[in-house]
Symmetry: C2
Subunit: 144 residues, 2 copies
DNA sequence: CCAAAATGTTAGTTTTGACTAATAAAGTTT
DNA sequence: AAACTTTATTAGTCAAAACTAACATTTTGG
């Protein structure tokens, strides 16, 4: 139940993504998702094994344990929520929002990303107008 | 003109804060702002000296050069903008917003924090209502 | 003015997370 | 099944950023 480091969170998230559809993946699949060398991955895997978050036989497939999957889903969910929030609120490309989400996902707590989720859900054209203070016919008030 | 690491950005920002009012500060003042050991600070200072961002004589005062002050102000400005944004948008205490800002300030680019600034400027009660999708009398539309 | 307190520096470690080069195992092809 | 290709691992390095303990300098108070 120990808290993972940022980098290990990235790895477990990558394993989850690389396993999409199946319930296992290979080191090289992880490599495609993250952009790091294989030895770096092997090293991270050894820690995740110790923590009981993945299983892997030597030269074999990597798969998440129950615990590992729970953590991975958690991180991944945050990632998606943050990406959507950043995309909508700041009007940036998905690729850029992804990059920002990758970093922020290790920082914000539950309260914050649940609020991001709510905001994203309610987001529409008018939100944008209100946010950036452009003229809004439905309202008489001014920001002064 | 080299890009500083996150940690060095924190140090230079701390120097700026610790020098408030004066144009110099001491190692122990920096220590009050950041929460790190003196040797860590000394080490960071040695790098900032190499980069020409501060000057300090042995056992003497630390002060920012023109370049250093420019960078420091930049980081500090980002910090303030992000803090305000987080406080308002997510309705969190200033202390918590500060913590988040400390981390995000090293991540987001100019485009993003300028947008944060705009949003903060325009922020009012109605923004909050629109953001979180509560009932808004002035509007007939629904988020579906 | 000199001893104690406050402040700053040096030296040496530690941890984390990355890398390259070399090696080993597994899989594929003919 | 031997040779070749792909994939994974090991071993050894490196850099950033922190720490503690020991030492050096400056400041201050009796």
């Amino acid at each position: 139940m120990k808290k993972l480091s940022k980098s290990l969170e990235d790895y477990i998230e990558a394993i989850y993504i690389a396993s999409e559809g199946k319930n296992f993946c290979r080191v090289k699949d992880i490599q495609k998702v993250l952009n790091v060398s294989k030895p770096s991955i092997v090293n991270a895997l050894s820690i995740l094994k110790e923590e009981g978050l993945i299983v892997q036989e030597k030269y074999g497939y990597v798969s998440l344990t129950k615990d590992g999957e729970r953590k991975a889903k958690n991180v991944y969910k945050k990632h998606k929520i943050i990406t959507e929030f950043v995309e909508k609120i700041f009007e940036v490309e998905n690729v850029d929002a992804q990059k920002i989400a990758c970093e922020i996902e290790h920082i914000v707590d539950k309260n914050i990303y649940e609020r991001m989720e709510k905001i994203s859900k309610n987001f529409n054209e008018r939100t944008k107008i209100v946010l950036y203070g452009e003229k809004d016919e439905t309202d008489g008030s001014k920001t002064r």
